[in-house]
């Protein structure tokens, strides 16, 4: 008679290991099945050594993701049914929603494509989940912001603007760089650039502040997106450790990707900086405070534990940290200068906003930026708003404007240099690492110079003062007789 043998229960990690890591099937020709594994110079000797923290089973994945979406869509539905747009702190705030949709949602879609490819090329289930997550983030951001699109300008043609507008070129080039990178690089880029620098600021602190400004819709979408990104972050850090532990020859390759993607993400994060410091009528934490809490301190800790592995903080770390006292102000002043052709509205901050900035940025704001912003307010009040009509020269790598290079003479000079103008030494360094790839991008940025908002989209740009958004919001709130 058979007796039932009772096995001790396995915990979740052991179960995952048992279910996914040993199918008693050895690929006889791994190079033929996974040819891209050998293209970037990374050497892996034992794939089974890869830890994948927080990895769910497929069954758990669908269940947890389904629960997240049920919660989110209940909130976005309620928000729309309750005319949530009327409860925004101010119509100025809608411009932060526009920037999220224009610059960051398309990156999520590109991340989806990049991860879907990497999942196949590397043969990793976690990465396939991550690909599905990024598609989810792209979609839920579109859904959460679609309600505002019914009431505000600046959202209807966001994919067209992402592809063509110079202001969004920083985001577009970031997405294209990701899409054209090898699978090992894509996963390092997510682990040390996109997740810790962009997601940990935009999808955490900014989304909390959005809730405070009356936008429960986007806020809930952002926070639930971030719950997936925690999983990506945990898996990403394990990925970096795995790569450098597999072979000493991997260390310099991984370090170069760390240096590159941290810096690219820092440059991109200037857009999160303006959202945080300038586009929130109800102020929250400053961009610099968020940078310190969610980027600088956690990354310092991570790299401290990575020292024994031979990895160091990004080579541009000190420069990146130092920039954070300036970057949101510089970016906002630039947006104001080019306001006429942007797909969003800008304005001169009022006196209480200036005081708040001065309190948050002691030492830099009053000395360097306040006079310019007061000058801008004066110009606007006297009908002398800046009307820069030519697009600025963009950096050959990060695609943000190169300081001091504006006007038609500078554009001609940039053309002679075939786009090889740089905002900073780290950007020049990144360009030189893969000059062919970045030259192609620089060439397409020249096309962006000649692209302008169509006349039919004039209501999407310019100053907030006197805009259709301002007028409508006042009218609705006056007419709705809110308590």
């Amino acid at each position: 008679m058979d007796t039932t043998v009772k096995h001790p229960a396995m915990n979740r990690n052991q179960r995952t290991q048992a279910l996914t890591h040993d199918l008693a099937w050895q690929v006889s020709q791994p190079d033929a099945v996974f040819p891209a594994r050998s293209l970037e110079g990374i050497r892996i000797h034992d794939w089974s050594a890869l830890r994948q923290p927080l990895q769910p089973s497929v069954e758990q994945y669908w269940k947890v993701q389904g629960d997240k979406d049920k919660r989110l869509y209940a909130i976005t539905d309620a928000f729309a049914q309750n005319n949530g747009q009327l409860g925004l702190s101010d119509a100025r705030f809608a411009n932060a929603i526009k920037l999220l949709l224009q610059a960051f949602s398309p990156i999520e879609y590109s991340a989806h494509r990049a991860c879907a490819r990497a999942a196949r090329q590397l043969g990793l289930t976690t990465v396939a989940f991550q690909a599905a997550d990024h598609l989810r983030h792209n979609q839920l951001e579109i859904h959460a912001t679609s309600h505002f699109n019914k009431y505000f300008n600046g959202m209807h043609s966001y994919t067209e603007w992402f592809d063509h507008h110079w202001m969004l070129s920083v985001a577009k080039s970031y997405a294209d760089d990701l899409l054209s990178a090898g699978p090992f690089e894509v996963m390092v880029a997510m682990a040390v650039g996109y997740n810790p620098v962009i997601c940990n600021t935009l999808y955490v602190s900014y989304m909390s502040a959005a809730a405070d400004n009356g936008d429960m819709s986007t806020s809930s979408a952002g926070l639930t997106a971030q719950s997936d990104k925690v999983r990506h972050q945990a898996a990403g850090l394990a990925w970096v450790e795995f790569l450098v532990q597999q072979d000493p020859a991997n260390v310099p390759l991984v370090q170069a990707w760390i240096d590159k993607w941290f810096w690219r993400s820092v440059r991109l994060s200037s857009l999160v900086g303006v959202m945080q410091d300038y586009m929130l009528p109800f102020h929250s934490h400053s961009w610099q405070e968020i940078w310190t809490t969610y980027v600088q301190q956690p990354l310092q800790q991570i790299f401290e534990t990575w020292k024994p592995l031979g990895l160091t903080l990004p080579s541009n770390w000190a420069q990146a940290c130092e920039q954070q006292a300036h970057v949101s102000h510089q970016t906002w002043l630039r947006l104001c200068r080019y306001s006429a052709g942007l797909p969003l509205h800008v304005w001169a901050p009022n006196a209480s906003a200036l005081d708040w900035l001065s309190q948050k940025y002691p030492g830099t704001f009053d000395a360097m930026f306040r006079p310019h912003l007061m000058g801008l307010a004066h110009q606007i009040a006297h009908g002398q708003r800046p009307q820069e009509t030519t697009a600025p020269v963009l950096c050959g790598t990060c695609q943000l404007p190169v300081p001091g290079m504006a006007g038609s003479a500078a554009l001609a000079q940039a053309k002679n240099l075939q786009g090889r103008c740089f905002c900073s030494l780290p950007c020049q360094h990144i360009f030189n690492l893969d000059a062919d790839k970045h030259s192609a991008q620089a060439a397409s940025s020249a096309q962006r110079h000649s692209w302008a908002l169509p006349a039919s989209q004039a209501a999407d740009g310019g100053l907030f003062d006197g805009s259709q958004d301002e007028h409508n919001f006042e009218e609705w709130n006056g007419g709705a007789q809110h308590p």
Binding site: L54, Q60, D67, R71, S208, S227, Q301
Partner: protein, 89 residues
Amino acid sequence: MSNVFIAFQVNEESRPVVDAILADNPNATAVYSPGLVKIDAPNSLVIKRESIEEQLGQRYDLQQMQVNLVTLSGHIDEDDDQFTLSWNH
């Protein structure tokens, strides 16, 4: 000394988790901002299934925590009964 942190969306599902964490980690502090609660703790932080179940009065799978999880910092060590964050590697 270095901090680890974990943050959740503020709602009725995450409240018993936050309460259990604060009870099990006397050095942990919770900071609330709109929609978000961030818990900081020096060096390490432990989340125990049993403590959450005591708060809830029903069974709890630590996977459920991910529904309301927003972000964290620290290395993760997890099994069915507990979830630990620390910088000890």
